[in-house]
């Protein structure tokens, strides 16, 4: 009844299963613990970052340069998704086998509240590292009570990008270096009208960082207590004359029919980029870190200007965006020292120059502009230096330090307000509602994290 063939076959299967079971056992037994094992006598440092695409490739190259420059440490870069995703991974795996030695993160407020890092200031002091070689306007955002918490490696600022070929084609005057709201509105209107609607003049993505920057440029803070820098912020300041001016400007362009709304969601930013690259958008505002991508993909001449300023307020400057490098507390002294060596290498003029050329992030080291490669790139296209010039021209004050706010719902509610305003709702009502909601969130956060916040500001 039972054929011999199947007999043989099944004993083979059983043998295979046994072998696989042994393999499983071995896999479990030999699972590496990811600690800093010396590979070829080197200390391995894992480095979590959020750079991908062309920026990620360049980062890998710079890390490779560090690994080749010395024989003591080996940095292993790992892309962990967006800043938000990387941060939640980091928080959920503190003190485990995967905790990175070096972490790139933009959310300074949450990282500080979690507090599982060694302030970079300690290494700066011990090593007598000269912080004056870096731009103070960028450092200020990463300081707390005067101490540098983390090293701003990839700094950016918001800029306006515009399609020069479209401006030329429709006979519109190119934007000035520091355009005002009315200048942009007039150019957007002219582009739309002269192209008979084929081109939309301008857009401002529903991305709360943008109005925050536009407000900073009018010397207006977003939360009280000096943007939450002197003590924990207790209230948002959204319904301000500065914010009202921004959205009056946007609603004006919407009325002109020269404004394109790309909506919200994860693809809004990609769609906006596609619209610009496809020659369907005249002007848009984005991080200077988008320049590397545009340079690679745009088949037309494009320009970069300072962040737009309100007509009656001189430009105050914007907050440095981007992210910084943090050194984990939960690591041996040798590993932390390695992380500091790595940070020093990445902040050197040469590396920062290469980083600016390849990505559009700002070279944080003042000496980078003298590096021949960057000097040549700036000479060839002076506009690549717009983000730095903007930073140098800007003032160092509470507004340009940017808001310091632990775990708030600012992004969510300011985003909602933007959506409502773009849909035609009254500006003051929308902003007031958003402000109330954010205030509720801030009150809850402050109440439940009172001890942490006290510790943060007692440093």
């Amino acid at each position: 009844m039972i054929e011999k063939f199947w007999h043989r076959w099944w004993s083979l299967i059983c043998a295979t299963m046994a072998v696989i079971a042994v393999i499983i056992g071995l896999v479990v037994a030999t699972t590496p613990q990811h600690q800093a094992q010396a590979s070829n006598g080197r200390i391995t440092l894992s480095f979590w970052h959020s750079m991908n695409g062309p920026n990620g490739q360049l980062l890998d190259k710079l890390v490779d340069g560090f690994n080749k420059s010395q024989t003591k440490y080996k940095v292993v870069p790992q892309y962990e998704g967006s800043y938000g995703l990387a941060e939640s991974k980091y928080i959920n795996t503190l003190h485990t086998n995967v905790t990175p030695t070096i972490m790139q993160q933009s959310d300074i407020a949450t990282m500080t509240a979690v507090g599982d890092y060694v302030p970079v200031q300690q290494f700066v002091d011990a090593d007598h590292y000269d912080l004056n070689q870096l731009y103070p306007g960028i450092l200020s955002g990463f300081k707390l009570k005067g101490d540098l918490q983390s090293m701003p490696f990839n700094a950016s600022s918001s800029v306006m990008y515009y399609n020069k070929d479209l401006f030329k084609k429709y006979g519109v005057k190119p934007l000035s270096q520091s355009p005002s709201y009315s200048e942009i509105r007039a150019a957007a209107k002219a582009l739309t009208e002269k192209s008979k609607g084929a081109v939309k003049g301008a857009t401002l993505q529903i991305y709360p960082w943008l109005p925050e920057q536009l407000a900073a440029n009018q010397n207006s803070v977003v939360v009280n207590k000096n943007n939450g820098r002197s003590s924990a912020a207790t209230a948002a300041e959204l319904n301000t004359p500065a914010m009202q001016k921004i959205f009056t400007w946007v609603q004006g362009m919407i009325k002109d029919g020269s404004f394109q709304n790309f909506g919200t969601g994860s693809s809004a930013s990609a769609n906006q980029m596609a619209g610009f690259l496809g020659g369907k958008i005249g002007i848009f505002m984005q991080s200077s870190a988008a320049a590397g991508t545009i340079a690679k993909a745009a088949k037309f001449k494009w320009g970069e200007t300072f962040t737009a300023h309100a007509d009656d307020v001189p430009a105050n400057g914007v907050a440095a965006g981007g992210a910084s490098l943090w050194i984990s507390k939960d690591k041996s002294k040798a590993e932390q020292q390695g992380a500091w060596e790595f940070i020093k290498y990445m902040m050197a003029p040469k590396q920062q120059a290469a980083w600016q050329i390849g990505t559009g992030y700002i070279a944080v080291n003042k000496a980078s502009v003298k590096v021949p490669a960057l000097a040549a790139a700036i000479k060839k296209n002076p506009e690549t230096n717009v983000p730095i010039k903007q930073l140098q021209a800007g003032k160092v004050n509470a507004a340009t330090a940017g808001p310091f706010l632990v775990n708030s719902q600012m992004d969510q509610y300011l985003g909602t307000a933007m959506q409502q305003i773009y849909g035609g709702k009254d500006i003051k009502t929308s902003l007031k509602e958003a402000e109330n909601e954010v205030n509720k969130g801030i009150r809850d956060t402050n109440k439940s994290n009172a001890a942490i916040l006290k510790a943060v500001f007692a440093q």
Partner: protein, 272 residues
């Protein structure tokens, strides 16, 4: 005449629906042949059709490493489930013990609990074990499967009682009976089960997403998401090429195992 008209009518609608259902994949394949600059600019055609995206995908992304990881993970899980589910299902099908019904009901209850609800306790467990970012953490939580036990028990119940009695008569012990009679008898269910489990775990997304932290252990589905840029701009040509590459093993398994998939799903509940 009327039958052929009927045929034409049927085929017309079937082709239409097939095209509709297949459109995303067809567009994906087409996009994988276009240069990214053209995709970004919104062109549907290009003078530059080539396999360059595939070459770039293999050379510049760790897609082969991701695929190897997915393969290892899916094979390990399938093997682990084979061992555990076979033994558990045998017990429920052929042994008599106290509270058998109740314990089986308990097994079924875990089937009603979605995996998403178990993620937090499972994550904490492997975190404490130090299994984050390892094959152990990726596979071991899936070794026990109530669905597998249920499916195999149903298959084993179809082994005729006469065979069971005969094997006892000639003095086979439990393991001999299992290996020599039960497993060969249920081979089509076992193959279906194996293919099904392999496919399910090849396509796992959420668990690898939250437990892998390096390219050494990342699986394809998570890796594919990584290729999509967040705020710069995505290299869509390469992403599509990678997606098609990842699709190939799955398609192969479906083509080879189609017969068993249908068979397995049809015979699952014949005899309760």
């Amino acid at each position: 005449m009327t039958t052929s008209l009927k045929h034409i009518n049927h085929y017309f609608w079937l082709t239409l629906v097939a095209l509709l259902m297949g459109a995303p994949i067809l567009i994906g394949i087409w996009a994988s042949l276009l240069p990214t600059a053209d995709i970004a600019a919104g062109h549907l055609t290009s003078t530059n059709i080539s396999l360059n995206n595939y070459i770039a995908a293999i050379q510049t992304t760790p897609v082969l490493r991701y695929m190897a990881n997915s393969f290892i993970v899916a094979i390990l899980i399938t093997a682990g489930q084979f061992v555990l589910c076979t033994l558990a299902a045998y017990a429920f099908a052929f042994l008599d013990f106290k509270f058998k019904k109740q314990i089986f009901a308990l097994f079924l209850i875990t089937m009603m609990l979605p995996f998403e609800a178990q993620i937090i306790p499972n994550f904490q467990t492997i975190r404490v074990f130090g299994w984050l970012d390892s094959y152990a953490g990726l596979t071991i939580p899936f070794f026990a499967s109530a669905f597998g036990v249920f499916m195999l028990r149903q298959a084993f119940l179809q082994v005729p009682d006469e065979l069971h009695e005969y094997s006892q008569l000639i003095g086979l012990n439990h393991l001999q009976f299992l290996f020599k009679i039960v497993l060969p008898y249920s081979r089509s269910t076992l193959i279906t089960f194996g293919l099904y489990m392999f496919l399910t775990h090849w396509n796992d997304y959420l668990w690898p997403l939250i437990t892998t932290f390096s390219d050494s252990y990342r699986t394809t589905q998570v890796g594919l998401k990584q290729l999509q840029a967040q705020d710069t701009f995505s290299n869509w040509g390469v992403i599509m090429a990678t997606a098609i590459l990842i699709l190939l093993p799955t398609l192969l398994i479906l083509l080879v195992g189609q017969r068993y998939f249908k068979k397995g799903l049809n015979t699952g509940g014949l005899k309760a």
